[in-house]
Amino acid sequence: MKTILVVDDEKHMRLLYEEEFKEDGYEVITASNGREALESVKMRHLDLVILDLRMPEMDGVEFLRTVRETHRDLPIIISTAYGDYMQRDFSVWLSNGYVVKSSDLNALKQKVKELLKEA
């Protein structure tokens, strides 16, 4: 069983993702900001991260930069409400993909499948 880390500051969002991916047969861990996410990464093996960008304490970009220093190959998908690249930053390249949040999670799920297959 593959483990997915969901990072989002909104509780309901975390819940929704959790329910959906658990249903698909994944193990799901959550974190509410970048710092928590880093701790999770340190603590255990993860197969994939679904990452929101706008979060308090440590945002998605910072998490991304930090985690890449140690986990180069960890698949990370950015899932954000922001429809365009608001980051004036190369750092989003450090992710493996980008999905705009939608109530229809099919696109996200598809992406997850692709990345995990490769891995």
Binding site: M13, L16, E20, G83, D84, F90, W93, G97, D104, L105
Partner: protein, 801 residues
């Protein structure tokens, strides 16, 4: 003769001497008395005039001989008597030495028996004349001529001498009195307040003749410019008599007098080498005096031929003095008259100048009342043509069009035909408004005259062979075609179009550049255009040119301001929209999360098998509505994000090459070295070509500005990944020295600019465009060397959402 007789004789003669009758009569009485009392056949008195004796009175000889019978002094008995001043006596036909001329016939030989010739001598010893008595028969008186008789005749002679002398003195006195009177008249005329020079000169000439008794007088004045001595007044002869009215200094008697400042008294001009025949008839004697002051000679006064009727042929010293006196009077008077004339001239000149300046001032005031070009042109042309202004009949204003190198008629003012002209002028002259008002008042809407319409149709290429108007521009000078017909050949076009042969053009020059031409003519009243008119016109044209230039500047300023304001408005608008868009976007993002969870859980609900028919329906509705909301959100974000983007698959390298083409001039100007390393096989990207081009333009321009001359610009393109898709990267590196960090942070901020020109926005716009393409733009500093802009573009920006 008894002593009684002698006393009687003396008494009678004394009586005659004291009578008031005139000389001729008294002499006649004397000879009568002598002839009767001495009983001789003839008694005659001769008076000396010059070198001859002239019979003046006789008893016994033919009276017709009076004034006609003449003997030379020294010849014959009578002549000898006058010469040696002693008695001559012939008795019984005995002739003495020498030739004897018969006193009756004047021929040689003596017919008389006895002749007594007595000299009449005055108190100074001069011989005034001769008394002669002669008898045909024996005469006792003459036969027994003794000392007593001699004494008697001496006394008689001195009596007669007295008579003659007093008569002469009396005559002199009369003459002097006459001269004084005449001089008095002249003086009065000369000092009168009203001075008319020609009349004055004529008066002087007339007076000269009257006081000297000459035949004629010629007054010449020296012209200071030509150096010619020209006849200015004559009396006693006709204009046609003068064959040489102008003499050079030194030519002829008058010329000599003028040159040397000394008078000439020529008794016989044929003997004077300086004489030049200047008259149709021949003068015998001439008296010429200079009209001068101590410093210079103004002219000459010449008198011709003493009147033969008075019996004296040549001029005397007295005449010379008289004339010289009159000449100095004349000098003062002429000087005075000339000053007066000059004063009047200057005053009139001044007044004219004042009037001109006044006109210019008023027109200038009118010109300054507006900054609008068309109004100004109207004012200018009105000022030029209106009666109280420069007063030309018609005028056209041409302006130079630099792009087409043509001179175009912009506006004309003037009537189309003489009737119209008269109508307008008579109307205007009845209005008495001040000049400024008349020029600036708004005319009642009126029909353009044909002339004014035609003026606007005229256009002329500015080329030396295109006629006077073009030449006015090229040569920067004015032309007065009426005065110099040599220009006519070149001006045929204008002449035909406007129907004139005489006109003038002046260039309108502002800051040493010819901006136009002012054309004027007097087509209706045909008044010639003088040099003074041209001067005034040129002065006016200079003012007008400056005024026009001002309106141009003003218009430019206005336009520029308008432009700036528009851009500013646009900017503000677009920033507003952007801000609005950003706000909408921010809101949309806030809304999105809840929508996602809302929709997500609704969908989960829909998957629940336990849900009843109705429940399922309700849930499906919720899901649909959420989708709808998400779509709305998407639209909002699309709207705020994108603006008329048209994506098409493009080759970035091609766009780059096109960009460099557009900027080739700027690059060449600064001699920037451009190195391109463009990857062949570069991914095609879906972009709005125009916008991407704009981005490249803005970046490259920014670099060009930052670099000194001969800077270097490197452009590199290569394939890359952006997120999860392919993309391309374009790098621009310049040698502009780099950007300080505080500026670097704000480099894409539209409200932060270090430049005074508007190009500070360029990078901000570039940034927005790249954003819209879901790309990334950033800048790296290479301190001391330059900066590098890096642009990343996804192959498919739509998929990147």
């Amino acid at each position: 003769m008894s002593s009684n007789l002698e006393l009687d004789l003396l008494a009678k003669i004394a009586h005659i001497a004291n009578s008031p009758s005139d000389l001729g009569d008294r002499l006649q009485e004397v000879v009568t008395v002598l002839a009767d009392m001495i009983r001789v056949e003839a008694c005659s008195i001769y008076l000396s005039e010059g070198d001859v004796l002239v019979l003046k009175a006789t008893k016994g000889l033919n009276p017709a001989l009076v004034n006609n019978l003449k003997f030379k002094i020294g010849e014959g008995i009578l002549g000898r008597t006058a010469k040696v001043r002693t008695f001559q006596l012939v008795r019984n036909g005995e002739l003495g030495e020498g030739i004897i001329l018969d006193p009756i016939s004047g021929g040689e030989g003596l017919q008389a028996k006895g002749l007594l010739s007595v000299p009449i001598v005055d108190e100074r010893g001069c011989c005034l004349g001769v008394i002669s008595l002669h008898s045909m028969t024996s005469n006792s008186f003459l036969e027994d001529f003794s000392d007593d008789k001699a004494k008697l005749f001496s006394v008689i002679a001195s009596q007669i001498s007295g008579i003659i002398r007093t008569a002469q003195l009396f005559q002199d006195l009369k003459q002097k009195l006459y001269v004084q009177t005449k001089m008095g008249e002249v003086s009065q005329a000369l000092s009168s307040a009203w001075v008319n020079l020609p009349d004055l000169l004529n008066l002087i000439a007339k007076t000269c003749v009257e006081i000297t008794g000459a035949r004629g007088c010629i007054l010449r004045l020296l012209d200071p410019y030509t150096g010619m001595l020209s006849v200015k007044a004559i009396y006693g002869l006709q204009r046609e008599d003068i064959t040489r009215p102008d003499l050079k200094l030194g030519e002829g008697l008058a010329g000599w007098v003028a040159e040397n400042g000394e008078p000439i008294l020529a008794e016989d001009v044929s003997k004077d080498v300086r004489f030049l025949k200047t008259l149709r008839f021949t003068a015998r004697s001439i008296l010429c005096v200079p009209i001068k002051s101590r410093d210079y000679v103004m002219g000459t006064l010449s008198l011709l031929d003493k009147d033969p009727l008075t019996g004296r042929q040549s001029f005397s010293k007295d005449d010379l003095n008289l004339l010289s006196g009159l000449a100095s009077h004349a000098f003062m008077a002429i000087e005075h008259a000339r000053y007066y004339e000059r004063m009047e001239e200057l005053a009139s000149d001044n007044w004219l100048r004042l009037k001109e300046l006044s006109i210019l001032y008023h027109i200038n005031t009118a010109m300054r009342s507006t900054v609008k070009l068309d109004r100004l042109l109207k004012i200018i042309l009105t000022g030029v043509t209106i009666g109280g202004g420069l007063g030309f009949n018609r005028a056209i204003l041409f302006l130079v069009n630099e792009t087409t190198n043509q001179l175009r008629g912009i506006m004309g003012v003037g009537p189309s035909n003489p009737d119209e002209a008269n109508r307008i002028w008579s109307k205007k002259s009845t209005e008495q408004k001040p000049l400024v008002e008349m020029i600036t008042e708004d005319p009642e809407p009126y029909e353009e005259t044909e002339f004014e319409r035609a003026a606007k149709k005229i256009w002329i290429p500015i080329h030396p062979n295109q006629g006077v108007l073009a030449r006015t521009v090229i040569e920067k000078k004015a032309f007065n075609v009426a005065e110099d017909p040599s220009y006519l050949g070149e001006s045929r076009g204008i002449m035909q179009t406007l129907g004139v042969t005489r006109f003038a053009t002046v260039p309108l020059i502002a800051k040493d550049r010819v901006i136009g031409v002012l054309y004027v003519d007097n087509a209706y009243n045909h008044i010639p255009i003088t040099d003074k008119d041209m001067n005034l016109l040129q002065m006016f044209a200079d003012q007008a040119a400056l005024a026009i230039e001002n309106t141009n500047l003003y218009a430019h300023l206005e336009a520029r301001n308008k432009q700036l304001k528009e851009v500013q408005d646009q900017l503000v608008q677009s920033e507003k929209l952007a801000a609005l868009g950003e706000m909408a976007a921010a809101m949309a993002h806030e809304i999105r999360n809840p929508l996602v969870t809302l929709g997500g859980f609704a969908r989960r609900l829909a998957k629940d098998a336990d849900l009843k028919e109705q429940g399922r329906k309700y849930v499906e509705i919720i899901v649909k509505e959420v989708s709808r909301l998400e779509k709305i959100l998407e639209d909002i974000l699309t709207f705020s994000r994108k603006s008329e983007l048209r994506f098409q698959e493009s080759d970035v390298n091609t766009i780059l090459r096109e960009t460099l083409e557009v900027l080739s001039e700027e690059i060449a100007e600064k001699e920037i070295e451009v190195n391109k390393i463009l990857l062949t096989g570069l991914h095609k990207v879906k972009v709005d070509t125009q916008q991407i081009k704009q981005v490249f333009i803005n970046i490259i321009q920014n670099s060009i500005e930052a670099m000194p001359e001969r800077g270097r610009l490197n452009i590199v393109t290569y394939n890359n990944r952006l997120g999860d898709q392919d993309g391309v990267t374009i790098e621009f590196s310049d040698t502009g020295g780099g950007i300080p960090p505080e500026i670097l942070d704000n480099i894409f901020n539209p409200f932060f600019t270090t430049k005074d020109s508007g190009t500070g926005l360029g990078l901000a716009i570039a940034h927005r465009i790249i954003e819209n393409h879901h790309g990334i733009i950033s800048v790296k500093n290479r301190p001391g060397k330059g900066v590098t802009f890096v642009i990343n573009l996804p192959v498919d920006p739509v998929a990147a959402t």
